[in-house]
Symmetry: C2
Subunit: 194 residues, 2 copies
């Protein structure tokens, strides 16, 4: 129980930060605004996060954690089965409910920070490498792929997924969106059966 107030307050602050960043953008979210949102003085935020840089780096931890959590159910589900069909996972990757859980705006705003902050860059890299490794493990369970280089394959799949979401986020038209998703999904399937 010791110092659990501290823990929950920190969590509360980060989540408030995330909420406001999602609504008004990362660059428009100040410590004072977070304070007002949570009905606490800004000095309390500074008490737990001595500088804004530190606050931001914790926001990034939170975001990357959330990002990973989206994969988690699929990961869990598929770990239990001995041999799983990667297609189930691919479908999840491209399913709509994914994006509903996660705000790409904040994600890319934070991503833009990797170019001037080595630590943030490393954190992003670590996350992406972990996802690739998981997919590799998954592919290794598929007998059809047993003579394939699954590490390379996992990488190629994620490159398509990441490029897909990058481009998809520019689209306004629902119909076009769905149509492109199908296309990219097919592209990943092709990689699997190559």
């Amino acid at each position: 129980m010791k110092s659990s107030i501290s823990t929950t307050r920190k969590k509360e602050i980060i989540e408030g930060f995330y909420t406001l960043a999602r609504e008004h953008g990362l660059e428009n979210t100040s410590i004072a605004k977070i304070g007002k949102h949570l009905e606490i003085p800004p000095s309390l935020i500074m008490h737990y996060f001595p500088t804004k840089d530190i606050l931001i780096s914790h926001l990034i931890d939170y975001i990357l954690d959330q990002y990973l959590k989206i994969y988690e159910p699929a990961i869990q589900e598929l770990k239990e089965k001995k041999h799983a069909d990667p297609k189930t996972f691919i479908d999840k990757l491209f399913s709509r409910d994914w994006n509903l859980l996660f705000d790409d705006g904040v994600f890319y705003s934070c991503f833009a920070l990797i170019f001037r902050n080595k630590l943030i860059r490393k954190e992003y890299r670590k996350l992406h490498d972990r996802l690739r490794e998981f997919l590799k493990d998954l592919l290794d369970k598929d007998e059809n792929l047993k003579d394939r280089d699954t590490k390379v394959l996992a990488e190629q799949i994620f490159v398509v997924v990441e490029g897909a979401y990058y481009y998809l986020s520019m689209l306004d038209d629902e119909e076009t969106y769905e149509q492109k998703v199908l296309l990219y999904k097919e592209q990943v399937y092709d990689l699997l059966r190559k």
Copy 2:
């Protein structure tokens, strides 16, 4: 000649903005700082760009223009030839000198704005669609691809390219970088000969 001072000043301001954004980040670049950098009062900047939003939207025009310019030599060169080898173009896409001409940090910072600004989103989309259309035209000149859906193919290629650069920007290690580039390039080649 009429009102050419206005034109060059505007250009100067935008380029100064870009330079500072590249150095210190978009969110850390203020009108006052641009003024100091160019040795002009901030009010002169406001004279040409009435609000910061307008200034930013012009920066984005500039960036997307630059982005397109990277492709231009290749586009020009290949347009002249009647039937061109797409591989030459792909190689250019993955060549190192590309990134030297362009700052991904500013590009992705601006990209993050598409999520809360429909106009910016549209501009980004337009650029990416133009590049896809160009590549399609290029692929259409290749006889080996004459029974392929080149529009789809161009899209698939760019998805790999964009996903590749997204992931590559997280890497610190030069050697790993080069190795991944080869891998992604191979992935695009596979699409061509599929």
